[in-house]
Assembly symmetry: D2
Homo-oligomer: 260 residues x 4
Amino acid sequence: MCRIAIYLGPEIALKALLTLPEHSLLKQSWQPRELKYAKLNADGYGYAWFDEENRPLRYVFSEPIWADPNLHELAAGLSSDLWMAFIRSASEGFGNHTANTQPFRTEHLVFMHNGYIETFNHSIRTQLLHQLPHQIQTEIQGNTDSEYLFALIRWLSSQHPNSSLPDLLTRCLEWMDTHLEDEKALLNLALSDGNSVAACRHAFNDDAPSLYYSTEDSNFPDGAQLIASEPLDAAETWHRVPESHILYLRRTHTPELRTL
Amino acid sequence: MCRIAIYLGPEIALKALLTLPEHSLLKQSWQPRELKYAKLNADGYGYAWFDEENRPLRYVFSEPIWADPNLHELAAGLSSDLWMAFIRSASEGFGNHTANTQPFRTEHLVFMHNGYIETFNHSIRTQLLHQLPHQIQTEIQGNTDSEYLFALIRWLSSQHPNSSLPDLLTRCLEWMDTHLEDEKALLNLALSDGNSVAACRHAFNDDAPSLYYSTEDSNFPDGAQLIASEPLDAAETWHRVPESHILYLRRTHTPELRTL
Amino acid sequence: MCRIAIYLGPEIALKALLTLPEHSLLKQSWQPRELKYAKLNADGYGYAWFDEENRPLRYVFSEPIWADPNLHELAAGLSSDLWMAFIRSASEGFGNHTANTQPFRTEHLVFMHNGYIETFNHSIRTQLLHQLPHQIQTEIQGNTDSEYLFALIRWLSSQHPNSSLPDLLTRCLEWMDTHLEDEKALLNLALSDGNSVAACRHAFNDDAPSLYYSTEDSNFPDGAQLIASEPLDAAETWHRVPESHILYLRRTHTPELRTL
Amino acid sequence: MCRIAIYLGPEIALKALLTLPEHSLLKQSWQPRELKYAKLNADGYGYAWFDEENRPLRYVFSEPIWADPNLHELAAGLSSDLWMAFIRSASEGFGNHTANTQPFRTEHLVFMHNGYIETFNHSIRTQLLHQLPHQIQTEIQGNTDSEYLFALIRWLSSQHPNSSLPDLLTRCLEWMDTHLEDEKALLNLALSDGNSVAACRHAFNDDAPSLYYSTEDSNFPDGAQLIASEPLDAAETWHRVPESHILYLRRTHTPELRTL
């Protein structure tokens, strides 16, 4: 269980998203409001953005966000028009090191997962070991359910190369629906290709983690589209994403909410 | 590529093996003499021993051994009659974090690998993903060739439960012989169950890393049986393990050298 | 603000103090009950014990105790008849690294401080820079109020070499009383020489942090003397140390409670 | 003993200085050519640049540069027209943690020191503890000779507020000349205020570490002014800074070489 924050809009310094809001991810690391299965998000953090050729860049730190000696200076020095940020609450058995720290990224995509899959090692991981192409399996570096979910999405993407980001999330959830039995699976997922972002709020056999969006948070510039596990500022400018919905952000559109 | 040191004999403090010898692992971390494919062993270190019920205990640190603030005090405070110690030189692509730091251990066994498997991700890892039982695959936490080798040994052990430690190493090398093509595979392996230790010096398609043993190093107590990648003290009391041999240490025997 | 636990008695494994009790320091790291100025103790931890020649040995880790990959195996593998253990909640401005992680130790003494000194840099640190002998100042490696308090105690010890441990704590508090103005100073201090332990509960211009002791906790062997910021087990076997008191543990006595 | 690299010129990505050159700092960390008192620079690294209001920003990492999971992505994502970069070889007694990792910076200045002061704790540190204003002493967070040298420079700057950067380095060396006896002191220093850079090559009672500069390295843009402990590329475009000289870089001038 973790917390995420996503920004698409005019270029801003990272700190505007990560540390300055009243209920920033920095604050949510030790004082989250709506975390169900944990008390803290103190097992590392990270963020991703895209370079001028639209390739992902990423920073990860395996200790609590507040303990990072570089937090405030990188947050002041890095600017982008798209941010994907993550604070981690590690699930049992998934060690606190950088191979297990989100966001994950490949050459084109950035992925984040807020949630967990119950008895992952004995159910979904085993099934994915059967089905995933070996090439994709060999790219896995850690052992989290989240990294395997991203591997699943890359496999689905290779099979359906023209899928939009919301399509990929939908296919991922469909695969999970087919392969889960009665294990709980909390699956708030977010995916970006540098131009757009899709994020879903969904769970099987349990309630989904909280998820919100806003285009009216006055602490961000006009044109900002925001997604976060918990409202970053005054709650009245944020809207709850309903369960089993996908939110789709594009530069030239207002946020689009789709049912799954 | 890495360096290892192993001790079986009367109880000694860890420092007698790890830091005090003239050419200790601490020294070999920055000034190894016989390392072929690297210049340093500065990518972490670790050691393992066994508790009174013969269960492995282990310490790992993902930074250089000399940078560990706890090195000298733990090395003074921990004593055992069996030590398996390791300093790491990471191969490209295998990140510097504790999930990739040796020794590895399960409930009964401790394992160390000094060497590497060329193009591992595209050959042996793919084949192991085909063959290893999923239960054993799900125990893998990092992404090194070494951890997969240990998974292979555990699988072989489950299939041949009465195998001795040298038998398990032999079976592992036989499996590799069958599945390798012309990739280089440097496979100095060491395995212990708390009572005995087996270590082999072997490579496919290349020379094996250096390996030595001694029962006469005057800095260790009578009855000491030692194995190390490089002699820990004056070389004349150490013997080179010939290539393609296994060394077998037991409490009640002198070291036994077997051809593979 | 932090939490401490101290044990004197028959030899026990570290885990009996650190991780096994129902309200162990591991639990208090993320769920303390009586912490006033913080919500967590997730800024590192450490413990100290003594070797056969009565010299301190120490382990420190600058990340949360639960994130230490070596926590459980060292806690099982290390045994002693005297333990000083600490979990840290860093005060603002005192970085999360091992030079700032307690316990501190010199050749003969182990020291822990639970509390903080308000506006330390602008008052007490400046005054100590005037008064401490330069030799003692040059032994300081980090920048915490706690490390300066230990330097003060070493200076007092050099001036009054026959002082008992409670005397040293008393002298330290007297020095503070003389030099503090109206700054808050929370000063739960603990000091050990390997044979005995003194711990005080005291504050200037505020309430002191919580502190308890027990000789009847049924999860520890007969003869155990325990001190902890919060009861480690069922509260009815633990007694609150009154404010402005020193508790003195010796091997051959029952705990002695003295007024300051 | 360490290695440094400095860039002033048209805006470039950090990687152009830190990782791409044939003999980059990344390479010099494990294969330096002219390091005298050490074999490696594997005890951390860091870099500094300036924001639009000319305030220093800084990144530090206490492990080897090659072990940083964020090295290549930050080096690609950060751009500036002024870079100060550092790889560390720790002197005995100065722990491997971020409070001891260079560059150091205050609100206006960035400082780097390549060298060491013999018996620092027993000579210069003691004298500085006498002379430095307490306010400046309380800003010290670690225990390296380098951090005390920067404190000395800040004190000199407060006493001579109109001094140029070369003047401050000269005053620092004069103070050292007055206070050193026959201890070796290797003092390659570099100082920047965001607009200009001064770097000196000097030692007392020993030879100074190597230092070079270039304005003609073809891998950098026209207008680049470079300083480095070892030439970053083909040596013929780099010039040795003579001992006891200061090099002064300004945006609107060619590099100026002054005798001390």
